[in-house]
């Protein structure tokens, strides 16, 4: 680890560029196209999920270390419960929204 050559942080730069691309793609899809609302929602939603996964793996080294596996399970369970909360609340409350 002690090499302090002027290494080039390739993964970080790549990650940054891809994040920018994903963000502007979502912006474009949302404001420039006149697709039906539901499809736009699905597209920008999945773009957001991809960007989040990219952030978790490339910048946050989630799968690194001896606890990589438990960290992945933990974050996956967190997103699962968040999804159940959001989707569940909307579905259950939909008759009164």
């Amino acid at each position: 680890m002690a090499k302090n050559t002027k290494g080039f942080p390739l993964t970080h730069v790549l990650g940054f560029i891809m994040s920018l691309v994903l963000t502007f793609a979502a912006l474009g899809v949302a404001l420039k196209t006149n697709l039906p609302f539901k499809t736009i929602l699905w597209i920008i939603g999945s773009l957001a999920v991809i960007q989040a996964a990219l952030q978790l793996y490339m910048f946050m080294h989630m799968n690194e270390g001896e606890d990589g596996k438990s960290q992945i399970i933990n974050v996956a369970y967190g997103f699962f419960i968040a999804f159940v909360t959001v989707a569940g609340s909307i579905w259950v409350m939909s008759f009164g929204m």
């Binding site: 438990s70 369970y77 967190g78 569940g88 609340s89 579905w91 259950v92």
Partner: protein, 658 residues
């Protein structure tokens, strides 16, 4: 919020006046006693700044028993008021405050601390560790819980208690229908205690994942460790939802936002949704460690390995997974539509399957065993039939259409008492009798224990069995009185008599604690019950470093394996090494106090004062960030001397189960 000062202290009601005087006297008594015995320094060094998981556990248990007493008195007051029709003992407002505090205190400030206290004492010992992963965070969790509990309790005499039920449904709990600061106490005190519980959840997940001794794989862990691990996972998964719900309630009540209010487009159903998204997992957090304790007690007193260990593990994982998918069965009647009600009827009924699997595994653990009727085992035995009545009525309630007739009636009240009391309270009593020698070095008296058992069990059944029939006859919950023509009078009277017997039972426990502390036989063996798991492999009470040499585990029920093959029981001098232990810290109790003060100011809506106190909290965090003190080293000769003290003079007390 210009609260006029004569309302600061609640006056004009003999009951409240009496309790104000009682609280004042006890406080003066405690302070005078401690000063007289010159124990302040001892108290500060040994208890207030401790980070030892065993001490913290004992503090949790003591505050849990105290809160159980107060919640019980609330219950008795309710039973007194409903003993006769049109009773004039309590008016509606007072009764509403009492059933609200009864609910909150019994679940959040009695059941949770008793379970987390036993988890604190036992888990590090069971996995062969010296302490939890984050000792100072553990102390902070306790002091946050304690300050939340104290803040909630003073609501009875200062400013008035919350009166919208432990579920605090909106819009009733909002400023539009319940002015005053009662419900501010609910929103803020539970928030502080909730933060502490979330930290406990994180702490125990890391402890159990990372600090198991050599050889203890996940499938060799004792069952109580497994259930506490899964309960901690549910804590981490559900308490953030409660934090948000309480924060939004605070915003609605104090800062005038419109989340759940009628005006401004708020949606009162959203509160019920968020509350139960946390509420149902909360009851599984409370019942799973209790199941773990029953597994330990039944396995030890049948002198037999737990039957179907693997299926017991899969069933608690199954319960944990399903527990987050059932919450709508608390509001089938809200009209969310037949589709929603059907799906949640199915998921709720499915959760009965893993519970049934566990029940049969306990029964088959006892089959071919040699069952000893010690007090701890009696509690586990009484748990099985009573919990089955609770579970069976639960499945009946889970059916959406039937729930339209059961919901909010005394049938529902009887059900959740038949699940919570046998499920959690019996388990805590079993756990206390079972681990008392490990915590204090002396056993609770078995004879008084049996009196406690019989009174409590008979009283419990007598109190809550009539409620099933009252509920089916149309009696609703939370109603401070009922008409003579309703025909409910005889059953309500029967229920009150049951409650008195229940109280006598609890009185027997308090006497037992007092009697044993004074007179119980001190030289008992370190393994009085001839038990099977690792916590019995060290002294009772264990030295502060738990194990001189971390034991190596070869199989499940590792201590039983060590005893049978006579391995790892002796300690040679050269095996002892220096032990690194965390040092005490005054920061957790400071944070508890400052959180309490900030909470108190926010309850009374003095926003500037609350802001200043919040700066105090930030200062505490900064001090912690700059704190580089990483513990002290226990020298080899000190270890050798403590180990010699308890090892070779095995006091030879047999496991005298009378």
């Amino acid at each position: 919020m210009n609260i006029n000062w004569h309302d600061f202290f609640i006056v004009g009601n003999p009951l409240i006046l009496g309790s104000q005087i009682a609280i004042l006297l006890t406080m003066i008594g405690i302070v005078a006693g401690v000063t007289y015995l010159k124990k302040w320094k001892w108290l500060w060094r040994e208890w207030l700044t401790t980070v030892d998981h065993k001490r913290i556990g004992i503090m949790y248990i003591l505050s849990g028993v105290l809160m159980f007493f107060r919640g019980g008195v609330d219950g008795l007051l309710m039973k007194a008021q409903t003993s006769r029709p049109e009773m004039k003992f309590l008016d509606a407002q007072h009764y509403n405050e009492i059933f609200t505090t009864h609910g909150v205190i019994m679940i959040l400030f009695a059941a949770m601390p008793l379970l987390i206290g036993l988890m604190n004492v036992v888990i590090p010992l069971q996995i062969g560790a010296r302490d939890v992963a984050f000792p100072q965070l553990n102390a902070l969790s306790f002091w946050l819980f304690f300050s939340g509990a104290m803040l909630f309790n003073i609501s009875f005499v200062v400013g008035g208690s919350p009166d919208a039920g432990w579920t605090a449904y909106f819009p009733l709990a909002g400023k539009e229908f319940t002015p005053g600061i009662g419900n501010n106490y609910y929103a803020i005190a539970l928030q502080i205690a909730g933060i502490g519980t979330l930290m406990t959840g994180i702490n125990f997940i890391v402890t159990i994942l990372k600090m198991r001794t050599k050889g203890m794989t996940l499938m060799r862990m004792p069952m109580f460790t497994w259930t506490s691990f899964i309960a901690s996972v549910i804590i981490v998964a559900s308490f953030p939802i409660f934090t948000v719900a309480l924060a939004l309630m605070t915003f609605d009540r104090i800062f005038g936002t419109h989340f759940f209010t009628l005006a401004g487009g708020g949606m009162d159903m959203m509160w019920a949704n968020l509350f139960w998204l946390w509420g149902h997992p909360e009851v599984y957090i409370v019942v799973l460690p209790a199941f773990g304790m029953f597994s330990e007690v039944i396995s030890t007193f049948s002198r037999k390995m737990l039957f179907g260990y693997k299926s017991m593990v899969f069933s608690i994982v199954g319960i944990a997974f399903l527990s987050m998918l059932v919450w709508v069965h608390h509001f089938f009647t809200m009209g969310a539509g037949p589709g929603v009600n059907s799906v949640f009827s199915i998921t709720t009924m499915m959760i009965a399957i893993p519970t049934g699997v566990k029940m049969f595994n306990w029964l088959f653990t006892m089959r071919k065993g040699r069952i000893e009727f010690s007090t701890a085992m009696l509690w586990a035995l009484a748990f099985i039939p009573c919990f089955i009545i609770g579970g069976v009525t639960g499945v009946m309630l889970a059916m959406g259409a039937a729930d339209y007739q059961y919901h909010n009636t005394l049938f529902l009240v009887a059900h959740f008492h038949y699940v919570l009391i046998p499920g959690v309270v019996f388990a805590v009593f079993a756990g206390l009798y079972y681990w008392w020698p490990k915590m204090f070095g002396h056993m609770l008296n078995e004879k008084i224990g049996k009196i406690h058992f019989w009174f409590f069990t008979i009283g419990f059944n007598l109190t809550f069995m009539p409620m099933f029939f009252l509920g089916l006859d149309g009696a609703v919950r939370r109603s401070y009185t009922y008409s003579a023509e309703s025909g409910y009078a005889p059953l309500f009277l029967l229920s009150t008599i049951g409650a008195v017997i229940l109280a006598i039972g609890f009185g027997a426990l308090c006497y037992n604690i007092y009697w044993s502390a004074r007179y119980a036989d001190r030289n008992i063996s370190n393994d009085p019950w001839d038990a099977r798991t690792l916590e019995w492999a060290t002294a009772s009470p264990p030295p502060f470093y738990n194990f001189a040499k971390l034991p190596e585990v070869k199989s499940v029920d590792s201590f039983w394996y060590m005893k049978k093959n006579n391995e790892g029981l002796t300690l040679k001098d050269e095996e002892i090494e220096e032990i690194h232990m965390p040092s005490n810290s005054g920061l957790p109790i400071y944070m508890g106090v400052i959180f309490g003060i900030a909470g108190f100011f926010l309850v009374f809506e003095w926003k500037i004062a609350a802001l200043v106190a919040t700066v105090g909290i930030l200062i505490g965090l900064i001090i912690r960030s700059f704190d580089y003190n990483d513990g002290f080293h226990v020298h080899v000769d000190e270890i050798k001397e403590t180990e010699k003290a308890w090892r070779n003079v095995d006091k030879g007390g047999n496991s005298h189960v009378s």
